[in-house]
């Protein structure tokens, strides 16, 4: 998409420089400042000593005496490393379970065209529109009944409910773009459906798999309400829930440690995202465009 930038607005050169500043660079700069400021602020706060945090006189935008005390506290005096580990393991398992289930489902709906596949595809799309905040109460009852309450399994098994519909929908779009003829040739050559799926469709759908995978991973990493409801012991909590429920106790807020926790918890998704921006955006817009 980026190559087309040259000719999308062919007459931009007619615009005078001052006008460009007022209509483009200034508003864009404003947007960037507001969108990025909370991250800058998180970083500044997490490296500031407490004395500086609670002083109104010092310039708050810069650090006079940087310290890593907050990170030390977080990593060695709280359960933060455990929360991190839980988040990683839950996100990875939920993502893989969802991807595998979605590949089969999408292939069946899009290519096997079994009886009723149209309505199943529609049902998957509707499932995508069911928000977690109306599901968590009955789900909590089910989780308790199954004896999964307060275990990582509760999250690994419930996260696919919002991941599978999204991934299936996205992969259906990718599978649709693979020419039917390829499959027909393979069928004539005597390939089984399994061989077609693993040797032809999947290699061609790798970009789609990456998009769906990245998206599913960030969604699981960010999930909050299920993790808040189904988990109560500190050692099985995920990062977002742990930071919110365990670091915010008492009347004195440890802003430094809180911001350090928020920063460390955001970094993994941000780094992963930075490697796969194009895939992520394709997943985001692909899910919307269909």
């Amino acid at each position: 998409m980026t190559e087309r930038t040259e000719d999308t607005r062919g007459m931009d050169y007619l615009e005078s420089l001052p006008r460009r500043w007022v209509t483009l660079y200034l508003p864009l700069g404003g947007f960037l400042f507001v969108l990025l400021f909370p991250f800058y602020w998180m970083t500044m706060t997490s490296f500031k000593p407490d004395a500086e945090l609670l002083s109104r006189d010092a310039n708050p935008f810069w650090i006079q005496h940087p310290t890593i005390a907050h990170f030390e506290k977080l990593l060695f005096h709280t359960s933060y490393p455990e929360w991190m580990w839980n988040t990683i393991i839950v996100s990875v398992v939920a993502t893989f379970v969802s991807l595998i289930a979605s590949v089969f489902a999408a292939y069946a709906i899009e290519r096997l065209r079994f009886r009723g596949s149209k309505s199943v595809g529609m049902a998957i799309f509707l499932a995508y529109l069911v928000p977690p905040s109306i599901l968590f109460i009955p789900l909590a009852a089910i989780v308790v009944e199954l004896g999964l309450f307060d275990t990582r399994w509760a999250l690994m098994l419930t996260y696919p409910t919002f991941l599978i519909p999204f991934c299936t929908w996205l992969l259906m779009g990718y599978f649709r773009s693979i020419p039917y003829e390829l499959e027909e040739c393979a069928l004539i050559d005597g390939a089984t459906r399994w061989q077609i799926l693993t040797k032809i469709i999947l290699p061609l759908a790798v970009p789609g798999l990456i998009s769906a995978g990245i998206f599913a991973f960030t969604l699981s990493w960010n999930e909050f309400i299920y993790a808040l409801t189904f988990i109560s012991s500190s050692e099985v909590k995920t990062v977002p829930v742990g930071v919110v429920t365990e670091l915010v106790e008492g009347d004195v807020y440890h802003w430094g440690a809180l911001m350090a926790g928020a920063l460390l918890g955001s970094l993994p998704v941000a780094v992963l995202y930075s490697f796969f921006v194009e895939y992520y955006v394709a997943g985001l817009t692909g899910g919307v465009k269909e």
Binding site: M1, T5, E6, T8, G10, M11, L28, F31, L32, L35, L36, P38, F39, W41, T45, R56, F61, A101, F104, A105, A108, L112, R113, R115, I124, A127, P131, P132, I134, L135, I137, P138, L139, A140, A141, I142, T161, I164, P165, T192, W221, N222, F224, I225, P240, V241, V243, W255, L258, A262, G265, S266, V269, A270, Y273, V277, V281, L284, V288, K289
Partner: protein, 299 residues
């Protein structure tokens, strides 16, 4: 055996099995169970008895439940409108020829991908009554003489949570609309220029109609997410001050999980469904009409 597996209905069923099992068990069944719970007096650890419409009647007479409905509608409408306008503006800025466009686009999406609960904590700190950096900056500039009580005053708190929600939602709207803008052929703009169209006319008669289908989908999702928002409120205010920011989702959580009253919480969740359906149907039919107007076929 082989023959049997070649049957597309059998194989299709087999392939659907993992996804169907998970979704039926953890999505369809809880949906039904939630509906049932809404008509019972179930509490945590005690199966409920059918009480008919009692939960809904008590919610109707409950001033807090009505306030939460008002808060939710206010929050959704204001945040969605602002997100749409700012998102469209940002998308149009990013669609112009810019240096480092790919990088800018990647950076803009950051608020959307980091965990909301964690960025909400950053907003909580920015909104702090005593040490807010915003208050500090305004005080230094001489705009205000005492620090702003962002989360302490009902209307101030409503606006503050809306701002945090908009901050998170604008990137999503902008990036999706940008994808839509990029599909509009430049020749349409050239033709409009030759016909003497002003910038505003080009926007009104080319950009907007071409973008309508995507706007409808993006805004449906945006409204859906905003209406059912939970974590931002839970982290920033827990519904306070004076319940001014309690949304239906946070109230339903409070009644059901810490309060233990599953039936009433489920009834509140059910009460959200008609609004969600209305939003979805509204955009779905809006979308169809536009597709037909543009000469697209019926699906």
């Amino acid at each position: 055996m082989h023959k049997f597996l070649d049957n597309r209905n059998v194989l299709g069923l087999l392939f659907m099995l993992p996804a169907a099992a998970l979704l039926l068990m953890f999505l369809t069944y809880p949906l039904g169970l939630g509906l049932w719970l809404g008509f019972t007096d179930a509490r945590i650890g005690r199966a409920g008895h059918w009480v008919g419409l009692e939960n809904f009647e008590s919610l109707l007479g409950d001033a807090l439940a009505r306030l939460s409905l008002f808060n939710t509608l206010f929050y959704t409408v204001v945040a969605s409108v602002v997100k749409f306008m700012l998102g469209l503006w940002l998308a149009m800025l990013l669609n112009r020829s810019l240096p480092c466009k790919a990088f800018l686009r990647a950076v803009v999406l950051l608020p959307f991908i980091v965990p909301t609960a964690l960025s909400a904590i950053a907003f909580w700190w920015i909104y702090d009554a005593q040490f807010s950096v915003v208050s500090w900056a305004f005080a230094r500039m001489g705009v205000i003489d005492h620090y702003i009580n962002f989360l302490g005053d009902p209307w101030m708190a409503r606006m503050s949570v809306i701002i945090a929600n908009v901050w998170r939602g604008v990137p999503f709207v902008a990036i999706c609309l940008l994808a839509g803008l990029q599909t509009i052929s430049p020749s349409l703009y050239e033709a409009a220029s030759l016909d003497g169209a002003t910038e505003w006319q080009k926007f009104r008669y080319v950009t907007l109609p071409m973008l309508t289908p995507i706007i409808a989908v993006v805004m449906t999702f945006s409204v859906l997410f905003t209406f059912t928002d939970f974590q931002l409120i839970y982290v920033l205010t827990r519904g306070g001050p004076l319940n001014a920011t309690h949304l239906m989702a946070t109230l339903s959580f409070q009644r059901a999980i810490p309060g233990g009253n599953l039936g009433e919480g489920a009834a509140l969740a059910i009460a959200m469904v008609p609004f969600l359906l209305a939003a979805i149907l509204f955009s779905y039919f809006g979308l169809q009409r536009r597709a037909w107007q543009q000469g697209g076929g019926d699906k």
